[in-house]
Symmetry: C2
């Protein structure tokens, strides 16, 4: 039950600068561990040496450190055709450090634990309408879920090395939630409110005990996590009560100057359109946000949790309800207009429909694809793939937990100092 409340951005890549002798060990640890994390099948020491250009002796010493520190384990030997003792493959440890992913959304709380190899080892989602609840009470409830996640992690021999909290709003670098419009939060100091409920993470160098991050950004990381062999650059659209997007470029989240990128819900679809909750006119949310779609489907005022609403709409659409089909077609068209703008700007070739949109993808996808074909200047040369997200709702907690373990893989020396 340690954990100083200290926040920092998810992506802080170290730039190399000059290479000094002192950092060479750190660099080699990271290079070897990354090779083990990405190679398939599990690589041998000799294979790692061949791939990285390091000497066999260096690789062996580095691998010994990683095994002693609990980051790497030897896999069962693979059958080999040739003579001699088969080389033993190396894989990420299943009982070393793990990441804790937490989420506060409009209508649920979630906590999950992801181990170093990326496996989800614990996942709890608890429904609750959090709009009438004060931020302090919401965080107190979340701390209970975190406690249960900790118990589960300990039972499995895992150590929680850091936590990421997803919030559906604008979060600054210190973890202050500037604005979460659909939750009704403004200037909520999450770290200060959590001082009475310390999270169950161990202090590990290079891994902040808590990062607070935008939910749509983490949901995009969840998609990356769930499809390790999928595209490395894509737009992930989270359709919940609000609409957010996460932009993943070359396997990393693009956060923008302050981490406030991806506000797709407030991209203008029609400058003279309906007034949005944000004060502007014609934002995408006024056409394709949950409230607008429910109203267009004849369910105005139905105050449903996001996944319940998506399932209800999907059931009606599957039954051929004309109003629902029209509502989803209109929402998909507006979404397509906004997403076409993103593709024209960023030259991405994959769009992932996440959150409630994952459930509604069979109906949203055709109008989105049609708008992209009409509006993307390069559509003739390279069609854009539009598909449903692998995880759907609650992907943000998985993405947040995965971000913690990716930090350890990127810089194992901090964990080794802790384990040693």
């Amino acid at each position: 039950m340690t954990g100083v409340w200290h926040c920092q951005a998810v992506t802080d890549t170290r730039t190399a600068g000059a290479v000094r002798q002192g950092s060479l060990r750190e660099l080699n640890l990271a290079v070897v561990l990354r090779r083990i994390a990405t190679a398939d099948p599990p690589p041998s020491r000799a294979g790692i040496a061949a791939d990285t250009g390091l000497t066999r002796a260096t690789v062996s010493a580095v691998v010994d450190d990683l095994i002693t520190g609990g980051l790497v384990a030897e896999a069962a030997p693979a059958p080999r055709a040739g003579a001699g003792r088969p080389a033993r493959g190396l894989r990420l440890a299943a009982d070393g450090p793990a990441g804790l992913g937490l989420e506060i959304n409009v209508d649920y709380l979630a906590a999950c634990v992801v181990d170093l190899a990326g496996t989800v080892r614990h996942h709890e989602v608890r429904r609750a309408d959090l709009r009438p609840v004060s931020p302090a009470d919401a965080l107190a409830r979340l701390a209970e879920l975190a406690g249960r996640a900790h118990t589960a992690a300990v039972r499995e021999g895992l150590t929680l090395a850091g936590a990421t909290l997803a919030v559906p709003g604008l979060v600054d670098a210190r973890g202050l939630v500037r604005l979460a419009p659909n939750l009704g939060w403004r200037d909520v100091d999450v770290p200060a409110l959590l001082t009475g409920h310390p999270l169950p993470t161990e202090p590990v160098d290079d891994v902040p005990p808590l990062v607070v991050e935008n939910e749509a950004n983490l949901a995009a990381l969840g998609e990356l996590h769930a499809r390790p062999d999928g595209p490395r650059s894509f737009l992930h659209v989270s359709g919940e009560i609000g609409i957010g997007a996460g932009i993943v470029l070359d396997g990393a989240l693009f956060r923008g100057a302050r981490g406030w990128s991806g506000e797709l819900g407030h991209v203008t679809v029609d400058p003279a359109g309906p007034t949005c909750r944000c004060g502007a006119r014609g934002c995408l949310e006024t056409y394709a946000g949950q409230e607008a779609v429910l109203a267009a489907a004849g369910l105005a005022g139905a105050d449903l949790p996001a996944d319940t609403a998506a399932r209800r709409l999907a059931d009606l659409a599957a039954a051929g309800d004309p109003a629902t089909l029209d509502a989803l077609r209109a929402a998909g068209t507006a979404l397509g207009v906004a997403v076409a703008g993103v593709v024209n700007l960023l030259d991405l070739d994959t769009v992932v429909l996440g959150g409630g949109y994952a459930t509604l993808a069979p109906w949203l996808r055709p109008p989105v694809v049609a708008e992209l074909a009409d509006r993307v200047l390069t559509a003739a040369w390279s069609p854009v793939t539009v598909r449903a997200a692998a995880l759907g709702p609650a992907s943000a907690a998985v993405g947040g937990a995965g971000a913690v373990v990716r930090r350890i893989i990127a810089r194992p020396s901090g964990w080794l100092a802790h384990a040693g």
Copy 2:
């Protein structure tokens, strides 16, 4: 007059992987040269050692190599307060390798030479309506400008180490112009057409003799070049006959999967708006492209070069012509709607109005600023700066030439092998 026709993308960053002994010299050369390129005032050998963590002996050996190879020169000694011989500062050489920047646009050709220190040493812009001219003839005329640039470079003791050609269209990785709508080009194989007119560049390792790149992307690099102390991330909008944008993130061009990012002119402003040349409806170009603005100002059919059109509109606006003022206000509003979408998505805090928009910035800026204030979700916490570009038209040729020298600074070993 050498130069094999070989094209490749402007940004191909080498990722480090493991550090091998053989590449250590290359890395140290690059680290020291970058320090000399960015330090102000010119740093001494001792200062570089302190900043980079390299030993004095290593820095001295590396600096000797850079001076011998013609990349670095000793600056006049700076006055020093203390006792002893003043340390001599090091700066980039003014007579080493240089970059050749070329541009084919709708109504002009341009060539310029930029030296290693970033100074423009030669710049020629030749007006010509290139729409009725075949691509082969346009490239033949461009080769004449390149020849004069070569003569000027030789006279100044410079060696052209590579060329970048800006084209207002979609360019693929092999230098094929897929589509340049305002020039009327489709599937034009620029390298093949240039085989009869070899460019006057020397073959240098790590520097492709020719890169063909989108004009708006290079114009953004031109802005980066012209304001070395300006922001490192911004959106640069080129308002010419068409509208393109270059996205600069942390000092580097964001090109997208195929280099086709930044098609701001085809972002939808109103899905039911006028039909665009691209076939879609309500694209930004139909509101804020040169033709639309001239028509709204009562100058329909005036087939003017982009910078002439911008000056004509600016003169009319300065004289208080109501139709022109209305036309610019409407264009600025549409531009503001589209740019607000970009800021919502990418969380950028600087927007640069370039090309003809630089001339028209006094009239375009207020409506753009107003739309950003209304439509950017985070506007309350961090206002977006909107300003005119430093270079305006023809910035692409400077950006392209600068890209060549930046390549050499990033990897000096290729040039040193050539010079040695």
